[in-house]
């Protein structure tokens, strides 16, 4: 299946890009992120990272659907 992945803030710098289209066998957001850390050497797992799917906050263990847009948020720091 295909997913669009978007990176923000620190993750964008680590991945070296804003977004990319990934074709893969499918799975959870956590599995997709892990795959991306293998693709991008500098991209590191962060315990406090958050994930959103199609502009809604989601969970790392929620299975993704084909064409879902997956947003990887590094630890947030508003305020």
């Amino acid at each position: 299946m295909k997913n669009k992945v978007r990176y923000f803030a620190l993750f964008r710098e680590q991945a070296g890009c804003d977004s990319e289209i990934i074709e893969w066998q499918g799975g959870t957001a956590a599995e997709l992120f892990r795959m991306m850390t293998e693709k991008h050497q500098d991209l590191k797992t962060e315990a406090a990272a958050l994930v959103a799917v199609n502009d809604e906050m989601s969970g790392w263990e929620t299975p993704l659907d084909d064409m879902d847009e997956v947003l990887f948020f590094p630890p947030v720091a508003g305020g």
């Binding site: 947003l71 947030v76 720091a77 508003g78 305020g79």
Partner: protein
Amino acid sequence: MKFSVSQTAIDVEAAKKRVADNSCGALVVFEGWIRDHNEGQAVERLEYEVYKPVAEKEGARIIDEAIEKFQVSHALCIHREGLLELSEVAVIVCVSSPHRGEAFDACRYIIDNIKTRLPIWKKEHYVSGISEWVNCEHCAAAGHSHRDH
């Protein structure tokens, strides 16, 4: 909008007027200011990156939760994005209610959740020339020694 993102200076007086109500006896306002230091480094200015589509939805949700949970009359939050100079207002929360206890509790609930649930990132530009993404709230949650801001 109960939660909004602003690219220009926050008008605090206008925000307060939006929660004004003759049936309310208490207003609690929180303002987050850009500090001149963080973790021992001298800060020159600061940059906020906000992913608005999610921040706006989740921000409105947090405010609705606070209104429901503490039964306050009105609440709002405005968060800046882009480049900010020292002492600028980065975020404001205004809560009004008939009595003060609920207003304090709701205001704190809102700022605590705004800081941990919204896709907003802060890059500090230090006097030393270095700049760095900041994520102290989570360090704190993970038991590190950083304190909440």
